[in-house]
């Protein structure tokens, strides 16, 4: 050990730097001077945007950072007389978070260079206090997005209420819904409507419930049977209400049968197995798969295709879209699912919200190209998008 220290010391005195491999083999952690410099400028402050109880420390590296073992952090509350060690870091580190403080109590900190168990103290920091915040400043951009989008939505919903007709481009899958229901009626076979495998807290499931309402109304008009299997208990409760209401709205509540809406099981593939059973035994003429789906999508869609049913799918699950596209006659892709209830119902309020969505996307495009372009003129707006 001593010999190496001496060598290292000699190396420092040499006018020519040693070859890098020699330095590596000598390990840079060896002491070069008897007492290393202490770190300087210790600043302590409350960590912003948090629930309190944390003080952040920052300091600048010891001039002998390369030769020390690390840093120790010491703390004392104003009433304490002595500093106690609360933690340590590796060398090269200039930040520390003290997570064990009490809110509203001032603390002072010292950071020390560590070498061979000995500590070389910095000047104490100015006293700092932690406290919890009531607003997260790092999330202002999210707040602005929410406010802006809510206003946009409100504006178009109100505007739509005044009766202005809003245009929506044709969505192929939806234009086929009428045909699908009619076909089942002609064949005297039921219609299968799978409202996805997501629970009610998935927005896709809510969107599916809206479409189910519209489909059920057509079914009530056409006089065919309906099967709605459910994977979740809450979804089951909701879809039953939705279907019942559709039959009431069409003036034929007596046509609604309890057995139309069923609970199956929460097990993903148990559910898929049961749907396969329904498709091969009850032979629905039309299958709807609308909502949130996972891997079971193709099990159902391919079995349905083999039974020769007419199939309309709709999902926002990006991964399942390719399978629905290849096994179904029509597929509502991504956002089309959310446009569907507006399209089918033609309800002005829903059409208005679609308009708001379009403006949202327009804003996204503007932001994308705006920030990209300005960055080439030296204006970096990227941090605007960053969320903490």
């Amino acid at each position: 050990m001593r010999v190496l220290t001496l060598l290292m010391f000699l190396a420092h005195c040499l006018p020519v730097p040693l070859s890098p491999c020699l330095i590596v083999s000598l390990s840079p952690r060896l002491p070069v001077s008897p007492s290393p410099g202490a770190p300087a400028v210790v600043s302590a402050f409350d960590r912003p945007n948090d629930a309190g109880s944390v003080i952040q420390l920052r300091w600048s590296l010891s001039p002998d950072d390369a030769s020390i073992d690390g840093y120790a952090v010491l703390r004392r509350a104003r009433d304490d007389t002595a500093y106690t060690k609360i933690g340590s870091t590796m060398r090269g580190v200039t930040v520390f978070e003290d997570e064990g403080v009490q809110d509203g109590v001032p603390y002072e900190y010292i950071v020390a260079s560590l070498r061979d168990g000995a500590m070389f103290h910095s000047e104490p920091s100015a006293p700092a206090m932690s406290y919890p915040q009531f607003f997260h400043k790092g999330r202002i951009n999210v707040l602005l997005c929410i406010v802006a989008f809510t206003l946009l939505l409100a504006y178009f919903v109100v505007k739509a209420r005044t009766g202005k007709d809003l245009f929506i481009r044709k969505i192929a899958g939806l234009a086929a819904v009428e045909e699908a229901v009619g076909r089942a009626t002609e064949m005297g076979k039921p219609i299968l409507y799978v409202p996805g495998l997501g629970d009610i807290d998935w927005t896709a499931t809510i969107a599916s419930m809206n479409i189910l309402g519209e489909v059920a109304r057509k079914i009530a008009r056409y006089d065919s049977a309906l099967i709605v299997p459910n994977r979740w208990s809450v979804t089951y409760t909701v879809s039953k209400e939705v279907v019942k209401e559709a039959f009431v709205a069409e003036g034929s509540p007596d046509k609604f049968k309890e057995e139309y809406v069923r609970y199956v099981t929460e097990a993903q593939f148990g559910f898929a197995a049961a749907i396969n059973g329904i498709m091969t035994r009850e032979k629905p003429a039309t299958n709807f798969f609308i909502g949130r789906f996972w891997a079971e999508s193709l099990i159902m869609a391919e079995t349905g295709a083999q039974t020769g049913a007419f199939q309309i799918a709709g999902t926002d699950s990006v991964l399942q879209l390719p399978f629905f596209v290849s096994a179904c006659d029509y597929t509502l892709m991504g956002e089309e699912l959310y446009a569907a209830s507006a399209y089918l119902s033609r309800e002005p309020v829903l059409l208005g919200s679609l308009k708001a969505q379009d403006y949202g996307k327009l804003a996204v495009l503007l932001v994308l190209f705006g920030i990209s372009l300005t960055s080439f003129f030296g204006v970096n707006l990227l941090p605007v998008l960053r969320v903490q």
Binding site: R139, N141, V142, C145, I146, L166, F167, I168, R169, I171, I200, D201, W202, T203, I206, V234, T237, V238, T265, E266, A267, F269, G270, A273, A274, N276, G277, T280, R281, L319, L321, P322, F323, V325, S326, M333, G334, E335, E336, A339, L354, K355, Q357, D358, K361, L362, V364, L365, V367, L368, F369, I371, S372, S375, F376, N380, L382, L385, R386, V387
Partner: protein, 206 residues
């Protein structure tokens, strides 16, 4: 061949489900119905042991009376069977739906909008590697055109039409890639089942 009756049960049930590939038959029907039954029994037990017991009854019996609220909300589900007050079932549903909706809005803006935009923006730093810079521009164009495809309130004609056509091309390439890539995953599952039949059951492989 295995002498373990559990392995035999697993193997027979596996074959019952596979038989559906030929056509629907009594074996598949048995497997399917057993699956639905056992799975529901499974979830009843799990919800008891992992939700009701630790998160409701234990805190309640320990005197945490705040937990009366979820108990009452939960019981409201049963008003479905009492026609006069069946509307009360909407309260726990509204509670859950409102919670989910409120939680999802900032989350979508943060993770699906802002973060994704941040990853799509092209800056001079992107071009530190020219090739990656070009890819980033392709991604930017792809994202934009795909978004334009989902633009609803205008007929897709002219520039909008061309962009949305490019968008659908991106979408189709993406779908093909996803499909092709997924084959691997599905075959993995099949290999797993075959491994089970050949190994633990028949003892042909180790």
């Amino acid at each position: 061949m295995s002498g373990d009756p559990w392995i035999w049960i697993g193997a027979v049930l596996t074959l019952m489900i596979f038989s559906f590939l030929y056509k629907d038959n009594p074996f598949y029907k048995f497997g399917e119905h057993l699956f639905v039954g056992v799975a529901n029994g499974y979830y009843i037990v799990y919800y008891w042991h992992n939700a009701l017991k630790p998160n409701l009854f234990e805190p309640l019996s320990a005197g945490q009376f705040l937990y009366v609220v979820p108990l009452l909300l939960g019981l409201l589900y049963f008003t479905r069977f009492i026609p006069r007050i069946s509307w009360l079932v909407r309260i726990p549903i509204g509670f859950t739906i409102g919670w989910g909706a409120g939680l999802s809005i900032p989350a979508y803006f943060q993770a699906d909008v802002l973060r994704q935009l941040e990853g799509t923006v092209v800056t001079p730093a992107t071009f530190s590697n020219t090739l990656h810079g070009i890819y980033a521009v392709i991604i930017l164009i792809g994202v934009a055109c795909t978004l334009i495809y989902f633009y609803f309130s205008r007929e897709h004609k002219g520039v909008l039409g061309s962009a949305s056509k490019l968008g659908i091309m991106f979408i189709m390439i993406g779908f093909g890639a996803s499909f092709g890539y997924t084959v691997m995953a599905r075959v993995s599952l099949l290999i797993g089942r075959i491994q089970f039949l050949l190994g633990p059951w028949l003892g042909l492989i180790d």
